[in-house]
């Protein structure tokens, strides 16, 4: 059990990790992330990269939907903008990946601001529909603007490179994706320690009183859209580098729903929730596939029987989480943490 909380300065009180134990576990986690690619096989490495990309995008959507309260179904569209920006830059310029990813984020942020413009007037489900329209519109542009996007065939791109070093394998991409994911999540958690993050939450909780405190609603809603789309754009750019091809079908509408589900399952308005949700949504379908192949020796019919079941089980898991843990996976995590902190006493 942890006793006492004797902080001497406000700085230490406002730190992200307030205790030595937390710092220790975080360092251990970083070490595990570093060691993971050295031990993992190619399949696990592939999954690790996918989770990394999903974490960035989910964190972005969490900023917008979880913290600012603006429901968006445009996430796949914003990721598409990022993906196509990276693909186009890689084909037409020789820019290294940090610059292309930054430009991808900025381009997506610009589109995000445009899409966010109606958000001052339109709220809740209506905003979801407005962003859905934007997403369909972007999909149309990806498919039809052939000179730039390559039409339905899409674009193939060169591997990411920096100082002559290319990242053509999953192993190398892992060291681009995961550090970036860690940095971007940390940056997001910084935002919520400052006035801007507080303004976002204020808008979510009660917009009238946010206004009375001098928070310009349109300004901050657009800022939230821009920040969220920036994350989506970077995630989309990484997605493009990872698969080395982008087509309009790389960013379908179901992807937007995937990320919204990740935010909800993980825990809205909780950065840790976004991470857990992204991992959950990416890994559970794979785990179910593994389960199928594990069952095959005993029940030869398992693949036939299981393949339609996978979707159902996946859906049921999501519904189950919403019913039994409406605050998401993050709440389960907090409960476990509380248990260890209070052990051997319970409350």
């Amino acid at each position: 059990m942890r006793i006492g909380d004797a902080k001497q300065t406000y700085e230490s009180d406002e730190a992200i990790w307030t205790t030595a134990t937390q710092k220790f576990w975080f360092a251990l986690f970083l070490l595990a992330l570093l060691v993971f690619p050295l031990l993992a096989n190619s399949y696990l490495l592939y999954l690790g990269c996918l989770v990394g990309i999903a974490v960035i995008s989910t964190t972005g959507l969490n900023i917008l939907t979880g913290f600012t309260g603006l429901i968006s179904l445009g996430q796949a569209g914003f990721m598409g903008v990022g993906g196509y920006t990276v693909a186009w830059l890689s084909l037409n310029t020789g820019l290294p990946f940090p610059i292309t990813l930054l430009l991808a984020g900025l381009m997506a942020a610009a589109v995000g601001i445009l899409v966010g413009l109606p958000s001052l007037r339109v709220k809740g489900l209506y905003l979801a529909i407005a962003t859905l329209a934007a997403s369909v519109f972007l999909h149309f542009i990806f498919a039809e603007w052939e000179p730039v996007t390559g039409g339905m065939g899409g674009l193939s791109l060169e591997p990411a490179h920096l100082f002559g070093f290319t990242f053509q394998s999953d192993f190398r991409m892992y060291f681009v994706i995961v550090p970036l994911a860690v940095l971007m999540v940390l940056a997001a958690s910084n935002v919520f320690r400052t006035r801007i993050g507080r303004a976002f939450i204020a808008i979510r909780d009660r917009d009238i009183s946010a206004e009375i405190l001098g928070i310009n609603l349109l300004h901050y809603k657009l800022m939230s859209f821009a920040l969220s789309s920036f994350y989506a754009g970077v995630a989309g750019g990484l997605f493009a580098y990872f698969y080395r091809v982008v087509t309009p079908e790389s960013f379908p509408l179901s992807m937007s729903i995937f990320y919204l589900a990740a935010v909800i399952v993980g825990g809205m308005g909780n950065l840790l929730g976004g991470i857990l949700g992204a991992a959950f949504m990416t890994l559970i379908p794979e785990a179910l596939k593994l389960l199928t192949s594990a069952l095959t020796p005993f029940y030869p019919n398992a693949p036939v029987f299981m393949s339609p079941m996978l979707e159902i089980i996946f859906g049921a898991l999501i519904v189950g989480f919403l019913i039994f843990e409406p605050h998401g996976l993050a709440e389960i995590w907090h409960r476990i943490r509380r248990f260890f902190r209070l052990w051997p006493f319970r409350t």
Binding site: E14, N190, I196, A199, I201, S209, E211, I212, G214
Partner: protein, 271 residues
């Protein structure tokens, strides 16, 4: 000298008149109270001053300058007009500390990039605000024991106090309180009255409040305006307002003033 001056203000929603030719002034560094029966237009008046409603006629002058309809609520906040709401308007998902820090929002400058890296100026600014909020406000309002708690878990009286804290963090020139002691028990009311007086005396903030609790209103107000059916009945010192037959009529709807006067003024001052 009056810090806030309302002149010939009229506001109507469709056919319903909320305010009709309302004029009164708020003298600087006073506790000024607007009283009146339910539906008299007190909260509508507050909403006009803070910029949510646009009056059809009349002007609101603040520090000698007319606040036009183009000055939106956020700008009015940065001009030094702070307020609390009748039905508490705190951010329920946040801790007490974060709620109060939000009050200082307009006085902070750090931008998005600074926030993302949380380094240098952005961080220093956050720390300064934290220090200021802790020393000047949390200490003063005696809410240090609840600073880490989410607002939703607090009692009504404490929530009202946190809302006051948030308004104070805005470093206002005029503090508008909409029913600061409604629904409180006697002890909480006494605390709140003490805070309001301290805010005026020690911090030099002009307080404009709407309140129904006559005992408290008469005790701490320097200046009172009485509103009924959207019109100002009278304004002046508490003692004068108390004796005004129109006020008594507005409240009790009775012309038998002498018998009512004793009820309204149980201390038994000579009528």
């Amino acid at each position: 000298m009056s810090i806030l001056e309302i002149k010939n203000l009229s506001l109507s929603f469709g056919g319903v008149t909320a305010l009709q030719d309302v004029s009164f002034r708020v003298p600087e560094n006073t506790v000024t109270t607007i009283i009146g029966p339910n539906g008299a237009g007190k909260t509508s008046l507050f909403n006009c001053i803070s910029g949510f409603y646009k009056p059809q006629q009349g002007t609101i002058s603040y520090q000698g300058e007319v606040l036009s309809g183009r000055i939106k609520p956020p700008q009015r906040a940065s001009l030094g007009l702070a307020r609390t709401f009748q039905n508490i308007a705190l951010f329920r998902g946040m801790t007490v500390l974060d709620n109060i820090k939000l009050g200082a929002h307009v006085h902070m400058k750090s931008g998005l990039l600074g926030s993302l890296v949380y380094f240098g100026a952005a961080r220093r600014e956050e720390m300064m605000v934290r220090k200021d909020v802790e020393r000047r406000i949390i200490d003063f309002l005696e809410i240090d024991h609840i600073r880490r708690q989410p607002v939703a878990s607090l009692s009504y009286g404490l929530q009202k106090r946190v809302e006051l804290a948030r308004a104070l963090a805005m470093q206002p020139t005029v503090l508008m309180l909409d029913e600061p002691v409604a629904g409180m028990n006697r002890e909480e009311k006494e605390d709140m009255a003490r805070f309001i007086l301290d805010i005026r005396e020690e911090w030099g903030i002009t307080v404009l409040m709407v309140e129904h609790d006559m005992g408290m209103v008469m005790d701490i107000s320097d200046h009172i305006a009485v509103l009924n059916f959207g019109q100002v009945v009278t304004e002046g010192l508490p003692a004068d307002v108390q004796k005004n037959p129109e006020v008594i009529k507005a409240y009790l709807g009775n012309s038998d003033i002498d018998s009512l006067r004793t009820k309204l003024n149980p201390a038994g001052e000579a009528a």
